[in-house]
């Protein structure tokens, strides 16, 4: 049921969303997920391992793959992994993680920082 789109993907020559490498990571996931669904601790360990071995670029590609394949559990899992990775991190860290550039006018960024000053407590040092 989950894999009807996988067949379609393999038949579809023109797909830009998923490369072969990503597919090999996503597809074994349902089995892994079912196996360790019951055990939360194991899941956390698997998550940590995944983060270590996978670069941020890979992570977003995995997300796109899971989204394209309509694989909800994997999508949730990858999104949570990203959320955990950026939690409590400084703005610069998050920018680097996602490959974003600050394109604000010189004074704009300071103004925003002031406006949201209340949200800046407790951020990790980089």
């Amino acid at each position: 049921m989950k894999f009807c789109t996988v067949k379609q993907y393999f038949d579809d020559e023109n797909n830009n969303n998923v490369t072969n490498g990503i597919a090999t990571t996503v597809i074994p996931l349902p089995n892994k997920h079912l196996k360790i669904k019951a055990n939360n601790k194991e899941m956390e360990q698997y998550e940590q391992e995944l983060l270590r071995n996978v670069m941020p670029q890979e992570l977003t590609k995995l997300i796109l793959a899971a989204n394209y394949l309509n694989f909800k559990e994997a999508l949730d899992f990858f999104c949570r992994t990203v959320a955990n990775a950026i939690q409590n991190k400084s703005v610069d860290y998050v920018r680097k993680f996602f490959g974003l550039e600050s394109d604000f006018e010189p004074g704009e960024e300071e103004k925003l920082c002031k406006e949201f000053a209340w949200s800046f407590e407790g951020v990790d040092e980089d």
């Binding site: 941020p56 670029q57 977003t60 590609k61 997300i63 796109l64 989204n67 999508l75 949730d76 999104c79 949570r80 990203v82 959320a83 955990n84 950026i86 939690q87 409590n88 703005v91 998050v94 920018r95 996602f98 490959g99 974003l100 550039e101 600050s102 394109d103 604000f104 960024e109 925003l112 920082c113 406006e115 949201f116 209340w118 949200s119 800046f120 407590e121 407790g122």
Partner: protein
């Protein structure tokens, strides 16, 4: 030119589909989601489109302790969301120490009702001036979970019911008996109902064909459970001493629980047991509670023979009972030994017994002896005595338990 192209290629997040971004951002605390507005100009207002907003004390820095100032911060958040939000808002939770301006809160709730809210949790702690919940909340077609603390609830005359409401939790709420009855009866898919410290309702009339879980911890004068065929767990604590009911009325135990055939778990506390004991308690209920698996009596004053009668009546009507938990505040099984109905009463499915609060008197030992002798498949019995001595296992094992493998655990608190 080529270098600029390289830069835009690296951005691996901003162009993800919005529902994917939303899935990521709802997993981080709201205050961090708000911080994303500083990432880049594209991200300036992305956070305002979130589908879930959870405002609790963790949103605020520790130096911000003034109630009014905290509301000002919340107001900034909800103003920005109202100005920029595109799609639906699924969940809003406000559980922060603050002093909401009722006007602002009104407007925000209207906004949420427009946005197809599914889960609304409001815990406003300023109970001096209770918040009048806009009646529009009760016409939200997709509302599936409603949790309110410290509000005044009034339904509009056009109230038709909440067709998607599955869970309703009302705490420290001001609502009349009739309004509450109407609300409960008109939620066709309601499964869980929790009522804590309800004001201005003297009688709880609960009628709902789908209700599975009921918890009440409040003062009330009477309770009526009618047409609740799926009710599986009932947990009731009466906060005041029950008043003497009229003579000639049926026994409260029979009136309230007589028709609850599908009950699996019953948790009854102190004053409510006394309430149930009013008027002649029969030896057993008119119909057996064939599905009752767990009976949990809390703060039971078992020195009153009426309350003991309630316990015995339930026990005699529960052939499938697997777990019996009694936490006692006073215990004296006075008429116990003389009860004839107990001679042939065997708990053929009873596996676990826990009794707390004993003072290791003779009467209590008699009860334990009775349980041990009448429970052929009992696996464990845990006895906790308060003050005094623990009942030594050697004494307990002398009671000739009917179950060969019973494990007796005797503790002292």
């Amino acid at each position: 030119m080529a270098e600029m192209k390289r830069h835009t290629n690296i951005d691996r997040i901003s162009n993800l589909p919005w529902d994917v971004l939303d899935t990521i951002l709802v997993h981080i605390p709201l205050k961090e989601a708000v911080r994303t507005s500083i990432l880049s100009s594209k991200w300036r207002y992305k956070w305002t489109g979130l589908s879930r907003f959870n405002i609790d004390d963790k949103c605020f820095p520790s130096y911000l302790s003034d109630k009014v100032l905290r509301w000002k911060v919340i107001l900034k958040i909800i103003d920005q969301v109202q100005s920029n939000h595109g799609g639906p808002v699924e969940k809003f939770r406000l559980a922060a120490y603050c002093m909401p301006n009722h006007c602002d809160l009104d407007q925000w709730i209207w906004f949420l009702t427009d946005k197809g809210i599914k889960e609304l949790i409001l815990k406003e702690f300023d109970s001096i001036k209770r918040f009048k919940l806009p009646p529009e909340v009760f016409s939200c077609p997709q509302l599936s979970c409603l949790e309110l603390y410290g509000c005044i609830i009034m339904l509009s005359p056009t109230f038709r019911g909440l067709n998607s409401l599955i869970s309703l939790n009302l705490s420290h709420i001001y609502i009349s008996s009739d309004t509450l009855e109407s609300l409960i009866a008109n939620c066709p898919v309601l499964e869980r109902l929790t009522l804590i410290n309800i004001d201005h309702s003297t009688v709880f009339k609960i009628s709902n064909l789908n209700l599975k879980y009921l918890k009440i911890d409040s003062k009330f004068e009477d309770i009526c459970l009618k047409n609740v065929p799926l009710l599986s767990t009932v947990d009731i604590r009466l906060r005041v001493k029950p008043r003497h009911s009229d003579q000639g009325k049926a026994c409260n135990l029979v009136r309230v629980f007589g028709c609850l055939y599908s009950i699996n778990k019953l948790i009854l506390s102190s004053n409510f047991l006394e309430f149930l004991a009013y008027n002649d308690v029969p030896e057993r209920l008119p119909a057996m509670l064939n599905h009752l698996l767990t009976l949990d009596l809390r703060d039971a004053r078992l020195d009153s023979s009426k309350v003991v009668k309630v316990l015995l009546s339930i026990l005699c009507s529960s052939p499938s009972l697997e777990e019996l938990i009694i936490s006692v505040s006073r215990f004296s099984f006075l008429d116990f030994q003389r009860a004839e109905c107990l001679v042939d009463l065997y708990f053929n499915k009873l596996k676990v017994v826990k009794i707390r609060g004993l003072l290791s008197t003779n009467h209590e030992c008699e009860f334990i002896k009775f349980i041990l002798a009448h429970s052929p498949v009992l696996e464990t019995i845990t006895i906790v005595t308060y003050g005094g001595e623990i009942i030594p296992n050697s004494v307990l094992l002398q009671f000739e338990p009917a179950s060969e493998h019973v494990k007796v655990i005797s503790l002292r608190s």
